[in-house]
């Protein structure tokens, strides 16, 4: 018998607190597999966010700390500056990274901090019960945009990897999704690249991952995959927006 799949040892053998079908579970797995595959688990430090993934430190079998809401890139900067040979990554939601932490990610990217940003976009503030996020698609109803997001009132969704790709300090910027096996495989490759640019000292690596929040989208986990395809994908095209030349194709 050949083992085709076994859970990564870098994820604690515990049930998670995530809802059924939550995108965070899949992204945790991909991150743990990547770190394990790169053989860097004993020198990697995770900076957890405020959001549903605040408990990431319980699941990653890594040294971890928890930042204040949105400040993970600043905390990661502090860690990386004093531990340049360690691998530092932040794991952040869309409210955390793209709203309250907008300035921290922008400036970490401008400085080209060699850190990795794992950015889970579920289009809502999951933890606080489904309010509008900067990533909420136009027209989408949330508890704080009950009539649907209206660009006149609430502005437009943010495309963070595209924005950051324009900065010279960014070595890798991509958006991937978790709604199908094929996309999950591509997501894993993108995460690997976002770590590789750090390992090679090329600059900041960021991957946005479209992930399901069935609970706040008020759909079943299976319907949530369709939601990603039908509602999220038209707003958030998948792709690599910046790949440092040194990384190769």
């Amino acid at each position: 018998m050949e083992t085709i799949y076994r859970r990564p040892a870098l994820l604690a053998d515990l049930p998670t607190h995530y809802c059924p079908g939550c995108g965070h579970g899949t992204v945790h797995r991909l991150v743990a597999e990547t770190i394990e595959g790169l053989g860097i688990g004993s020198r990697t430090i995770c900076v957890a966010p405020v959001g549903c993934a605040v408990l990431a430190y319980k699941y990653f079998v890594l040294d971890c700390c928890v930042a204040a809401h949105g400040r993970a890139p600043a905390m990661a900067t502090g860690l990386k500056r004093v531990l340049p040979d360690r691998v530092i990554f932040t794991y952040q939601g869309d409210g955390d990274l793209a709203s309250i932490g907008g300035n921290e990610i922008l400036h970490a990217a401008l400085r080209g901090e060699p850190i990795t940003i794992i950015f889970v976009n579920n289009g809502v503030y999951g933890m606080t019960g489904g309010q509008m996020a900067p990533t909420t698609p136009l027209g989408m109803r949330t508890t704080s945009s009950p009539l649907g997001r209206d660009s006149q009132q609430q502005g437009y969704p943010i495309h963070l990897p595209e924005l950051l790709a324009a900065l010279p300090g960014v070595a890798y910027a991509a958006r991937r999704s978790t709604h199908s096996v094929a996309e999950i495989r591509r997501a894993r490759q993108a995460i690997q690249r976002a770590f590789t640019v750090q390992l090679r000292g090329l600059g900041l690596g960021i991957v946005e991952l479209l992930g399901a929040c069935p609970t706040n989208w008020q759909v079943t986990p299976v319907e949530a995959l369709e939601f990603i395809e039908q509602v999220m994908l038209p707003v958030y095209p998948l792709g690599e927006f910046k790949v440092a030349a040194e990384l190769g194709a």
Binding site: D63, C64, G78, E104
Partner: protein, 357 residues
Amino acid sequence: MARELWKGNEALAEAAVRAGAEAFFGYPITPQTELLEYMARRMPELGRTFLQAESEIAAIHMVYGAACAGVRALSSSSSPGISLMQEGLSYLAGSEVPCVLVDIMRGGPGLGNIQPSQSDYFQLTRSAGHGDFHPLVLAPSTVQEAVDLMYASFDLAFGWRTLVILAGDGTLGQMMEPVEMPPMRALAVERPDWALTGAAGRSPRVISSLYLDAAELEQSNLRLQAKLQQMAATQQRWESFCVEDADYLVVAFGTVARIAQSAVRAARRAGIRVGLFRPVTLWPYPRQPLDAICPQLRGVLVVEMNGGQMVEDVRCVVRERVPVRFLGHLGGVIPMPDEIEAELAQLVSLSGRAAFS
């Protein structure tokens, strides 16, 4: 070692370097900026970390990150910047990660001005962030004392796993005084047993201030409270001048205490038996020594560069045994010795008993 002239802000920076600071993160703000500028030159020269952050919010979280790695990290700012840092200070307190912060206070509220002030007394001692905690707050009155306290601050911070804040005002930051610098310390090679370094050959470590369970958070808080009580009992620092036979007492901290000392000398020459009590720690407040002086007193005068903040601590200790008067200036106006003398004379006449020797 020879004494040299140092500007307060730069002396604080060099003292931090000599105390083994490995990382500085800050954001420009008057009247503190020379400290940041000094670090910008000095830290890279020694192969240590200097980074100008995008905001005070980012600066304190960079300090938090570096401090999580167990290194001696610090930041410095002035009043409005400290307000922005409060989020980080609370997280540092909640996770008991040690670091040092300098606050060269200026006038407020709002943008206020860049003149010297002591208006952060409440902010630093009472409300440095949400949740139940107090930083250890040190208030030097001379540049030499600023250097000595900075030199001791990291040992205090790491020993107690606490946040240490050096509180000075714009005057202290800007003035030049002769200073004897302490020797350069070797950097610590060992990291503390809670530091994040990558879990090589050991089980993973977590630094967090999150306790979702009410009972657990209470337990964590009770542990913090017990530590704070222990600090309160053992870490009070103060200095007194001419209190042995004093009938009256002036209480002042920082540079105001120096002005008050001139006033006390003059009042003594005029025959008033007055002494000076100068808290060096603003938290914990030196309650016991102040309380011990109270029985001999007929009146107390508190002088501050704010609207009356430390005076509340003094009133708590004096407990209406004798009158407590307050003289304050705000917005960068510095109290003058003759004003303090005049207030003392008022106090003497109001306290109703013969006070002249």
